[in-house]
């Protein structure tokens, strides 16, 4: 064995004698030296940035109204509007007059940032009715002197309180990067935990992936491609072969030796980055060191091709050429596969499920609405999916047994406001699944709920309710007849008509009534206020700032929301209409800016948040009952509660690894536990049908497994037959990708290793994030198999060939 170790050691010596290696070393040292002065410090989040705005249209409308409506002059938005710069005031006035004026978010950000330094707009009296954030209350309670930074923070919170529904929730502390002690101009509005996530999940992986996945691999191939052809030179090879060593082992030793070049470079780079992250950014992430073997492994994939080409043609130029062609082939196949994923497979994946009678309805990622055609075993389009489309489909809800209500928000995929008003669409089998337009939804609606005889719409910051009867009334006889069949008299509908109530929008004490026309109505619509027929149900001073979660009781008796680190329970007024009363509130620890989900089972409520343990509460009192950590590196993706005859609370949680886990406990919260994964893999969504006691799990794009929730046994699978591009993807592109080493995905593995996560979240529309799973096992298996095959071929060739 020592002979082969000698070959490997000799390769180290050869690598060290390479000028290219020393050039690479110097380049790495320069890079590390350039990165080393980077540091950071924490400061209060003060300045506004464009990306802090959740709904710019609402901001424009609110300030425009504050500008033109003299009644609001002494109200917070009036005072804020008055402190806007002249040019912006002129534009806002034009907006208030009904003109279409485009105002960039950065203009608003600049204007609001000026307000941070001069709080002349503030009046304690005016702000007495605004949202009272906990942090703002604490700052207001400070009586002594405050430093400038804290004052600016307080001013920002006051502005946020005055403009509910406009801003994303941001951490109170921000990271400001420094370079050699000098501050960078911009701050990152995130706390340290988020900063760690950002660095670990995005910054370091990107640096390492690019430097190692491309630069060092290419450089390594350039340097090492000559090793095998040089070994095959007669004066060198014959001498080596005359020694009492195995040809196969000689070749493998040379191969390992060739990997030393990349090993030497990668080791320095990774250890350097690790030390910088540790000593300068206070990030101790030992997982980074795993990048060394993974990067060398990635290089070995390409080097195995170079080795075989070098053996066959005995030319380093040809070896480089063949390796580059191979790399390009991998890239092209990867890109084609990615295109098929983006344009064929993922747009068809089922994101939400609803049951209309026996018909399974689903929304797709491509903005489509589909129903299961049991006869032909296919998903039939109601709204066609369009991967390039900008439309957003509101997840359908079932009303009256077999009728669903949904909406299609034009241009609403990335803009909550959309490109225009959206109507509720009512459809059922009798209507041929053609959506009948009904009431107009409040602008920027992202989700609708059925709450007893009401339909609730969640939009930018509020919840608005209307009566289900009102919805049916607007679509005509065919749907009304169904209700008659359901045994409900049309007379009773009358009492369900929504009553006009005061619009609760923070500080407004004189709101436009529903149905108002003219510029005021237009501004109201822009602000996302309740549309005609809807009435807001949350009390004033309550704004549902994203990220938020809402659980609506199916009977419509209560609802629970989570926003800005608070859990709130509201109950429906006894009159049946009007503003719901807040009965309980509880602050929850953890970063308020993380996404969250709420579900209820029996008398318990489960809160799932990113980067936090699962927390169980009493659904009535919101008293904490217990908490349990998710398995390592997992984040929640979907959560449903199951209400059945079982004697314990049961939840189904889809995690970022695409698997389903059952969370269960007794109703008092004891024995809270999380099960091992169950059901299919690659799960997209999960839905519980309380009537049939079945759990519907969509997985592998558009398959649905139906499980009996009691016995947890699969009772049916909806497995659609595929055709067209899906067919090509499954039977041509898929095998092609399977046969090609997935070097691109191996680069992602570096990201997964450094971040310690199994998936990353990509924001995909308002309140929607797509969890993209990292492929870790598949590329490693694929690349290992490829390297093994290439080395096997090379060894066979070398061992059997006459030289």
């Amino acid at each position: 064995m020592s002979a082969y170790i000698a070959v490997v050691i000799d390769s180290f010596r050869a690598a060290f004698s390479s000028r290219v290696l020393w050039i690479a070393f110097v380049a790495i040292w320069i890079l590390l030296a350039a990165l080393a002065p980077i540091g950071f410090r924490l400061q209060y989040t003060t300045d506004f940035r464009s990306q802090d705005f959740y709904n710019g249209t609402r901001l424009k409308a609110m300030l425009a109204r504050g500008t033109v409506d003299e009644r609001l002059a002494e109200k917070p938005i009036g005072r804020l509007a008055a402190s806007m710069p002249d040019e912006l005031s002129r534009q806002l006035r034009l907006v208030g007059d009904g003109d279409e004026v485009r105002i960039f978010l950065r203009v608003f950000a600049d204007a609001l940032n000026r307000c941070l330094d001069d709080e002349s707009w503030y009046s304690e009296e005016a702000w007495s009715d605004t949202l009272q954030f906990r942090e703002l209350r604490e700052l207001d309670a400070i009586t002594g002197p405050m430093d400038e930074e804290l004052k600016r923070r307080r001013a920002r919170l006051r502005i946020e309180a005055a403009l509910p529904g406009v801003f994303e929730t941001r951490a109170s502390r921000s990271i400001r990067l420094t370079y050699a002690g000098i501050d960078f101009p911009a701050t990152f509005a995130m706390d340290k935990a988020q900063f760690l996530i950002l660095v670990n999940q995005y910054v370091l992986p990107v640096i390492i992936q690019w430097l190692m996945g491309f630069v060092l691999v290419f450089l390594g191939i350039l340097v090492t491609s000559s090793m095998i052809p040089e070994m095959l030179q007669p004066g060198s090879l014959h001498l080596l072969l005359s020694k009492p060593i195995s040809r196969t082992m000689l070749l493998l030793s040379k191969f390992l030796g060739g990997c030393t070049f990349v090993l030497l470079c990668v080791t320095q780079l990774v250890i350097g980055l690790f030390l910088i992250a540790w000593l300068r950014l206070d990030i101790w992430n030992a997982r980074m060191l795993w990048c060394i073997p993974v990067s060398v492994f990635l290089f070995s994939v390409f080097y195995s091709v170079s080795t075989l080409a070098g053996l066959i043609w005995r030319s380093s130029i040809l070896a480089i050429g063949v390796t580059c062609i191979f790399g390009s082939l991998c890239l092209v196949i990867g890109v084609i596969g990615g295109l098929f994923d983006s344009f064929v497979t993922r747009p068809a994946s089922i994101r939400h499920i609803a049951l209309a009678g026996d018909v399974v309805i689903g929304t797709t990622k491509g903005g489509g609405l589909v129903r299961w055609d049991q006869t032909n075993k296919v998903w039939a389009d109601i709204f066609e999916s369009n991967p390039m489309g900008a439309d957003r489909v509101i997840p359908p809800v079932v009303v009256r047994e077999s009728t669903v209500v949904t909406a299609r928000v034009r241009g609403g995929r990335f803009n909550p406001f959309g490109s225009g008003p959206s109507d509720l669409l009512v459809m059922n089998a009798e209507s041929g699944w053609v959506g009948e337009p009904s009431m107009r939804l409040p602008t920027s609606t992202t989700e609708i709920f059925v709450a007893g005889d009401q339909l609730i719409a969640l939009n930018a910051a509020e919840l608005s309710a209307t009566s289900v009867q009102q919805i049916f009334r607007q679509v005509g006889e065919s749907f009304l007849s169904e209700q008659t069949i359901d045994g409900e008299s049309s007379e009773s509908d009358e009492v369900d008509l929504p009553l006009p109530v005061d619009q609760e929008l923070g500080q407004f004490d004189s709101q436009p009534k529903v149905g108002a026309t003219g510029w005021l109505q237009k501004l109201s619509n822009m602000m996302g206020e309740a549309a005609e027929g809807f009435s807001q149900i949350l009390p004033k001073n309550i704004s549902l700032t994203p990220p938020r979660a809402v659980y609506m009781d199916s009977n419509g008796d209560y609802l629970i929301v989570q926003s800005r680190g608070r859990l709130l329970r509201f109950e429906k007024p006894e009159t049946g209409n009007g503003v719901w009363g807040k009965v309980t509130e509880r602050s929850i620890e953890g970063e308020a800016a993380n996404r969250c989900w709420i579900a209820v089972s029996g008398s318990t409520m489960l809160l799932a948040r990113e980067e936090s343990p699962l927390q169980m509460f009493d659904v009535n009192t919101l008293e904490p009952l217990g908490e349990i950590d998710l398995p390592d590196s997992l984040s929640p993706v979907r959560l449903i509660g199951v209400s059945d005859a079982s004697r314990e609370a049961r939840y189904f949680l889809v995690t970022s690894d695409g698997l389903l886990r059952q969370v269960a406990s007794s109703f008092d919260g004891s024995d809270l536990r999380i099960s091992d994964p169950t059901g299919p893999r690659e799960i997209e969504s999960v839905y519980f049908d309380s009537i049939r006691q079945k759990v519907y799990i969509s997985h592998h794009t558009d398959q649905i497994d139906i499980y009996d929730s009691q016995q947890w046994k699969m009772v049916e699978r909806l497995d659609p037959s595929i055709s067209g591009w899906r067919f090509v993807d499954r039977y041509m592109i898929g095998p092609l990708r399977f046969m090609t080493p997935q070097t691109g995905e191996l680069g992602e593995a570096i990201e997964a290793i450094i971040s310690g996560k199994t998936a990353r979240t990509i924001l995909d529309g308002p309140d929607a994030g797509e969890s993209v799973r990292y492929e870790l096992i598949r590329p490693i298996v694929s690349c290992s198999a490829f390297v093994f095959l290439m080395l096997l071929t090379s060894c066979y060739y070398f061992a059997t060939r006459d030289f």
Binding site: Q233, L241, K243
Partner: protein, 345 residues
């Protein structure tokens, strides 16, 4: 320059009694490719030869004769198409056989990052030697080949001669029982050749078995105890130079004569022919100087030589020199290769 180097006398004496190289009916056919399709090339066509322990065996042949292929087969670099090749009774190319072989390739390449000492350490490890043995042997051999003092120098700065000497040192490093040297003096200047030759003679004197492939006939003639001449993949002759010379023995006798008469006349030659009853065409006479002649004759046996001397003396011709011609290795090589080319044509 030449120092004593350690070797096992017991092993040498034992090797002398056995056949170190045993090649029997060895054939190697390469497959060449051209536009017209496959084209077989017979590099070796039934080669038989044996080299015994302790002898220096020379392998001679023109370019393309198959010498390198034969060496490659012995080293296991190529596999024979048919026949057998054994080293020390083991199949040629086996690990056991290769363990006892030291090899100096024709165009030695040592990676440029090595020094002489690190190269010896590397090849020593490949030969299965321990670090201690390598260090000890390296000192001895570097002195033997005259590289002491330059052993820490990068080989990239070495001359061709230094390269060859380093190659020789690496071949000797693990004290092999058989040394296969492929053109060890190729590219060396006369001084370098002489130095290498002295090393070979020292090794020969120590009882090493050496299998020497060389183009330089004089070198082979001086160093080798036996030679084989290979041409077109076939052995044309194997044996000592003397044994091979006998195959070429031509019976031609040359007389340097002194006479006042003209010995170049046809009458004189006819007279000699009649006297010895030999065809007159066998006699040729040329005048070198005034009164000095060189007579050459192809005489079958010693009786004819004696009779011719008697006849010349009877004619009162003075014999200043009589020489029976002996063929050189070059004559032998040229004749055997020429025979082969004739038979091929």
């Amino acid at each position: 320059m030449v120092n004593e180097i350690s070797s096992s006398k017991d092993r040498s004496s034992k090797a002398a009694t056995t056949e170190v190289v045993d090649v029997s009916n060895l054939a190697k056919r390469y497959t060449g490719w051209s536009i017209l399709g496959r084209r077989p090339i017979d590099a070796l066509r039934g080669v038989d030869l044996k080299a015994r322990g302790g002898e220096v065996f020379g392998l001679l042949g023109p370019n393309g004769a198959g010498k390198t292929t034969l060496i490659k087969v012995l080293l296991g670099v190529v596999r024979p198409s048919s026949g057998t090749a054994k080293l020390f009774g083991e199949s040629a190319g086996s690990v056991q056989a290769r363990r006892r072989v030291g090899y100096l390739p024709e165009s030695l390449r040592i990676d440029r990052h090595h020094t002489a000492r690190s190269a010896l350490a590397y090849y020593g490890r490949l030969s299965g030697m321990s670090q201690g043995d390598i260090a000890r042997r390296a000192d001895e051999l570097l002195e033997l080949v005259g590289l002491k003092g330059r052993d820490r120098e990068c080989v990239a700065r070495f001359s061709k001669g230094m390269y060859q000497r380093l190659g020789l040192a690496q071949a000797l490093l693990h004290d092999p029982d058989l040394l296969i040297l492929d053109e060890p003096t190729d590219g060396l200047d006369p001084v370098g050749r002489n130095e290498v030759r002295k090393v070979l003679e020292t090794l020969r004197d120590q009882g090493k078995t050496i299998f020497l492939n060389s183009h330089i006939l004089q070198e082979v003639e001086v160093v080798c105890s036996r030679v084989a001449i290979l041409a077109k993949g076939k052995i044309r002759g194997v044996g000592t130079v003397g044994e091979l010379s006998q195959r070429l023995a031509t019976n031609q006798v040359t007389f340097d004569l002194r006479s006042d008469t003209n010995l170049t006349s046809p009458e004189f030659l006819t007279d000699l022919s009649d006297s010895l009853q030999i065809d007159a065409l066998n006699f040729k006479c040329q005048q070198s100087e005034a009164g000095l002649y060189r007579l050459s004759a192809d005489l079958q046996n010693q009786l004819h030589v004696d009779q011719l001397v008697d006849v010349l003396r009877a004619k009162r011709i003075s014999i200043s020199q009589l020489e029976k011609k002996r063929p050189t290795l070059e004559d032998l090589f040229m004749q055997l290769v020429g025979e082969q080319e004739g038979s091929e044509s």
